[in-house]
Symmetry: C2
Subunit: 250 residues, 2 copies
C-alpha cells in the first residue's frame, strides 16, 4: 500500500511574467524540489500584481491543494503587493512585525533602514517567517500557503526552510525512454494499450526534433510504485523495439 498523493499549487505573481519581459524558471525549480519530498504540482497560475487577483487565486488554490507556493511581490517597492493580498485572502491583519523588523535592521543597520525596506517586515498575523539567507528579507508561511521571493536565487534558498515543513505523500518517480527515429503516430496505439494494461502509471509521449533530420519521441512513465514503473519501462522499450529501434533509458 503506497502513501496517498499530496498535491500542491504554484502561484507566480508579477506583471513581468505575463508581459513576456521575464521568463519564469521558478515553477520548474519548485516542482523538482518537491518531487522527492512526495509532493506533486497539480496546477500553476500566473497573475498580475493586482491585489484582488492575487487574493482570489490564493483562496481558490489553498482550498483545493495541500500546499500553495507563491513567488514574487514581496520586495520593498510599491508594486510589491503579495503580503497584503495574502493577508486579505485569509482575512487577517498585517503590519510591521518585530521579528521581521529585527532581521532587516540587523542587515541594513539603522542608517539604511527606511520606510520602503520596512515594507518587507509586513507580515500577516499568525504567519511564521521563512528564512532568506541571500538577501535577508523573509518570506512567510500562513496556513498552507508559503510566500516566497520571485528572484530565482532567493526563492531557491527559501525552499530549504520550506522543505522542513512539508508533509509529503507518495514519491512519484519517472522513467524516460528515448526512441530515435520514431514518430508519435506510429507508437500511439501500443502506448495506449500499455496505458490500459498499467492504470497505475501515467504515460506521456513527447516528440523531439533536432534539425536537419534528427527526430524521435521521449516516452515518460510516472508512478509512485517502483514495480509498476519497471514494467512500464520494459513496455516502453518493447514498443520502441517493435518499431525497429533500440530505446535508450534516460
Amino acid at each position: 500500500m503506497t502513501a496517498p498523493l499530496v498535491r500542491a499549487a504554484v502561484l507566480m505573481i508579477g506583471d513581468e511574467l505575463l508581459s513576456g519581459r521575464t521568463q519564469d524558471t521558478n515553477l520548474r525549480t519548485i516542482a523538482e524540489f518537491l518531487a522527492p519530498l512526495g509532493v506533486q504540482i497539480g496546477e500553476a497560475r500566473v497573475v498580475t500584481d493586482e491585489p484582488a487577483e492575487i487574493s482570489a487565486a490564493v483562496n481558490a488554490l489553498r482550498a483545493r491543494y495541500a500546499y500553495v507556493f507563491t513567488t514574487g511581490g514581496i520586495g520593498p517597492t510599491h508594486d510589491d503587493k503579495t503580503a497584503d493580498a495574502v493577508a486579505a485572502a485569509f482575512g487577517v491583519n498585517i503590519g510591521v512585525r518585530a521579528d521581521a523588523r529585527a532581521i532587516l535592521e540587523a542587515h541594513y543597520g539603522t542608517t539604511e533602514i527606511n520606510e520602503a525596506r520596512l515594507r518587507m517586515a509586513r507580515i500577516p498575523d499568525g504567519a511564521s517567517l521563512i528564512a532568506n539567507p541571500v538577501s535577508k528579507a523573509p518570506g512567510f508561511q500562513l496556513g498552507n500557503v508559503f510566500v516566497m521571493a520571485g528572484v530565482p536565487s532567493i526563492m531557491r534558498a527559501m525552499l530549504e526552510d520550506v522543505g522542513k515543513r512539508i508533509e509529503g505523500g507518495a514519491v512519484v518517480k519517472s522513467v524516460t525512454v528515448r526512441a530515435k527515429g520514431v514518430r508519435e503516430g506510429d507508437l500511439a496505439a501500443p502506448l495506449a494499450a500499455l496505458q490500459k494494461a498499467e492504470p497505475d502509471v501515467s504515460l506521456g509521449s513527447y516528440p523531439w526534433y533536432q534539425p536537419p533530420d534528427g527526430y524521435g519521441v521521449h516516452l515518460v512513465a510516472r508512478s509512485a510504485d517502483e514495480a509498476v514503473l519497471a514494467r512500464a519501462r520494459d513496455g516502453m522499450l518493447a514498443i520502441a523495439r517493435d518499431l525497429g529501434v533500440d530505446g535508450e533509458v534516460l
Copy 2:
C-alpha cells in the same frame, strides 16, 4: 482617446510542465507576439492532462478574457485530450472532420494514416482550423478560444494564422531604465511618488545581480500612451540621477 485594453489568457496543458520535466517558453512567445497587436496577457494557467481540469480552466478563462490561447495536448497519443476537453467545455460534439482529415491524408499518404493520426483530425463542431505549416496537424479556433500545439516551433508557426483573427486594442509599450549600483529600497519612495504622479503608467522595479559585485535595478514603465511613457522614462532617469547614477535606457 486611446483604444481600450484587450486582455487575453494563456492556458498551458500538460503534466510535463508541472512535473518540471519541461520548461515552458510558450507563454513568453505568445505575450511577445500579441503585444504589438494590442493584446495583453492578463492571466496564465498550467493544468494537467486531466480533461475535467482542462474544461474547467477553458470555461473560467473564456468568460473572463477577450481571448484564450491554449498550448499542448493536440497530438495523436492517448494523453492528448485537449480537443475533446474544449468541445466538452463548449458543450458541442467532436469528431473527425473532412477538412482536417484531408490535410492529414495529404501529408501522411494513405499508407501512414492510422487511427492515432486521425485523432488529430478530431475538431469540435463549429470550430475553424488553424494552419500548421510545420507538421500539418491543425489547431482550431472555437469562439474566442485558440487551441494550439505545445511544441514551441509548431506553436509559433500557428500564431501567424491566429494573428490575422485578433482584434486588438491599445498597444501597450514599455521603456526600461537600467540603473547599476542602485538598490530597490533606496528608490522605492521616489518610484512610488512617480507612480502616484503618473497613474496611467504601470511602473515595475526588478532587481538584478551579477556576482561577484554587480547589481542594480531595472525600472520598467508600461503604458499605451506614448507621452505618458516619455514622462515616465524621464522620471525614472531622474530617480537614478538623484541616487548618483546614470540610468541607461534599454
